[in-house]
């Protein structure tokens, strides 16, 4: 059974004039123990999608979907509060810039203890404080911080970004979630720290069978750590499939362009020639193209692209394009 089953989720931004469709009918499924990558440029709506799943968007965003199931429970029928309750029990999220996501005037220890699940504590209330402290120390050990004494007493600005990100992961683990959504967790770090964090996430996935939705804009980096990948562009669904397929045989022109623009693919081109990129830039929200939003930039665009393409499924490899590259393989 799928953990998370989303079909045709749309997110509308209610402005003073017309509403803007920031995320246009995106589908996503997650199985247990799966590490899925969600790839797209900045402005592609991936963070919005993640926030919509967890339920932290404010009133000016309107979310609706054809299907939004969590472990079989239909969430669209419930009220917002009930939805939040069910989701927050099993889904956790970590963010970009971890230092900014921690309260600067409270110590790490206090914030960790806040995240510890009350239901897992037993005993009378004066014992609970001790248990909370113990639970917080355990969580820090789980993410690889050995000397928890110094860590719990410090304030967020006294730690490094990587350490803060580990603390955020520890706080996320406190609920024993079934799904961890990582929204560009390593965007603010150097590559050595990035590898540490990714290794930690991979070990958590293997040891606890926890599914991870890894959001990033760097396709090449993600391919080392994920089982499946979903690609988004400008709020629309582009392609989804196993990492092997996406990286070696991309069906959609956009995915092809992403793969082609990575440094590895550009090793063989002659000196002083241009790198292979798509011309133009991502459209701004006020001027979204109709139909397939890649249209103005796509090398294969023709008249039919004025209508948004439907999703085609080839043995688990989904593409949303009128002129997919399947035929060339």
């Amino acid at each position: 059974m799928n953990l998370l089953d989303i079909r045709n989720l749309s997110i509308k931004l209610l402005t003073a004039s017309t509403p803007i469709l920031a995320v246009d009918r995106v589908s996503l499924t997650m199985k247990e123990g799966e590490v899925r990558g969600l790839v797209g440029e900045s402005g592609s709506g991936k963070s919005l999608l993640a926030q919509a799943i967890v339920g932290v968007l404010d009133d000016k965003w309107q979310v609706d979907a054809d299907r939004f199931h969590w472990r079989g429970i239909d969430l669209m029928r419930l009220s917002v509060d009930e939805r939040k309750k069910i989701i927050s029990k099993d889904v956790a999220m970590i963010f970009q810039e971890p230092m900014a996501c921690l309260d600067p005037t409270t110590t790490i220890g206090e914030q960790l203890e806040e995240a510890v699940d009350i239901a897992q504590l037993t005993g009378f209330f004066w014992q609970k404080k001790q248990q909370r402290k113990l639970a917080a120390a355990n969580l820090l050990h789980k993410v690889g911080i050995k000397n928890h004494e110094i860590c719990t007493k410090s304030y967020p600005h006294q730690l490094t970004e990587a350490l803060c990100q580990r603390v955020m992961i520890a706080m996320a683990l406190a609920k024993r979630p079934l799904l961890l959504i990582a929204d560009e967790p390593t965007a603010a770090m150097e590559s050595t720290n990035q590898n540490q964090i990714f290794r930690l996430l991979a070990s958590l996935n293997q040891l606890k069978n926890m599914s991870i939705l890894l959001i990033s804009h760097d396709l090449e980096n993600i391919t080392h750590w994920t089982n499946t990948i979903t690609v988004m562009y400008s709020g629309q669904f582009v392609e989804a499939g196993t990492t092997q397929h996406i990286f070696n045989r991309p069906y959609h022109p956009y995915t092809r362009a992403l793969v082609d623009s990575s440094p590895k693919a550009n090793m063989q081109i002659p000196l002083k020639s241009r790198l292979m990129t798509l011309p133009g830039s991502i459209p701004i929200l006020q001027h979204l193209p109709i139909g397939c939003r890649l249209g103005p930039r796509c090398p294969k665009a023709q008249k039919a692209c004025v209508e948004a393409p439907k999703v085609k499924n080839y043995h688990g490899h989904q593409v949303s394009c009128h002129y997919s590259l399947k035929g060339s393989y």
């Binding site: 927050s88 900014a100 996501c101 309260d103 304030y155």
Partner: protein, 343 residues
């Protein structure tokens, strides 16, 4: 924390120095004889004036004159008042506590009323409550305080008869003046009517304190609202929501603390404004404070009194400013560091 204290102490001493230079130079700027301005002796004959001039080092250089002035200040001789011929330090000591009582009560009322209302306005942002609170705050901020004082006397004292309109306490109670702060004096005295005296003093302070507190309360409403709005937009509040905390918990545990930190920093700056309002209110309500004394001194051209009053009042305000700085540093660990880091 120690370095922070030392830096603040350093700042305090430097400011006191500057203030004393300012008040010293006033004696030269005021019309009339400089030596009379600084000492206050107007009735003595020329030999008397010569004696006083020697005391203050009139014939020596400016620096030694200033040094003499400082010496006089530290010895408690702030000159004598030109009108009453009483030592100014006594007058200040008898009047300043009443002003302290009024201003600190008013500050307290303004904070207790203004800050929660500002928070409520921010939480209900873009709804009607927010607009209503903002409009009321703007009107409260625009009322001229002397008009407000007169109107409240008219309504509450004369028409409704609920509260008295003048003085610190009814003259029937003979409370010995020990510290000058009425409430402490009542507790220290051994009059058999302590509780009634306490009630009477409270009813006397409510009206002036509320009048003084209105404009600062509206400023606090605005400050608290802005601070809370900024806090509610930050990433850590969003992360806390994703962590699964309810909105109530987030507000009470994280948002209020972070919002208060920014508000406290500006509270100290508002205190000078509050004292200005208190001075006018003291005149209207005949409150025996230093503001009323200073305004009467200027009617009577008592320059020595103005010098002394300026020094005393500004020192008091600056002390409160430093105190709030301390509280701000205690609450916000980031403020204790002086280096900016990579910014």
């Amino acid at each position: 924390m120690l370095i922070f204290t030392l830096r603040r102490l350093n700042l305090f001493l430097f400011t006191m120095l500057l203030l004393s230079i300012l008040s010293f130079s006033l004696s030269f700027l005021f019309p009339g004889e400089q030596i009379i301005n600084i000492s206050g002796q107007i009735n003595t004959n020329p030999e008397g004036i010569e004696l006083v001039a020697l005391e203050y080092g009139k014939h020596e250089s400016i620096l030694s004159q200033y040094w003499n002035y400082l010496n006089h200040l530290f010895n408690g001789d702030w000159g004598i008042s030109m009108t009453s011929q009483l030592p100014i330090s006594n007058e200040i000591l008898s009047h300043l506590p009443a002003t302290m009582e009024l201003t600190i009560t008013a500050l307290f009322i303004a904070m207790v009323v203004g800050i929660p209302i500002g928070f409520i306005a921010a939480i209900n942002h873009r709804k009607k409550t927010d607009d209503l609170i903002l409009s009321l705050a703007m009107i409260g901020y625009s009322i001229p305080i002397f008009w407000l004082g007169l109107l409240t006397i008219l309504i509450f004292s004369i028409q409704l008869g609920w509260l008295p309109s003048a003085g610190q306490i009814s003259l029937l109670y003979e409370i010995k003046q020990v510290t000058g702060i009425q409430f402490i004096d009542i507790l220290l005295s051994d009059s058999p009517y302590k509780w009634q005296a306490f009630q009477d003093a409270s009813s006397h302070i409510i009206l002036p304190a509320c009048v003084v507190a209105l404009a600062p309360a509206t400023i606090f409403v605005r400050l608290a609202r802005t601070s809370m709005l900024n806090v509610l937009e930050t990433h850590y509040i969003k992360a806390a929501m994703a962590k699964g905390l309810t909105f109530q918990q987030i507000i009470y545990r994280h948002a209020i603390r972070n919002a208060m930190v920014n508000v406290i920093r500006d509270v100290g700056l508002q205190f000078a404004n509050l004292v200005t309002l208190a001075m006018v209110t003291e005149v209207i309500f005949s409150w025996p404070g230093i503001g009323r004394w200073l305004i009467e001194s200027i009617y009577q051209r008592d320059y020595t009194a103005i010098q002394g009053g300026l020094l005393a009042l500004s020192s008091f305000i600056f002390l409160v400013h430093i105190f709030t700085d301390f509280i701000y540093a205690t609450l916000n660990p980031l403020a204790r560091e002086t280096h900016r880091g990579s910014r």
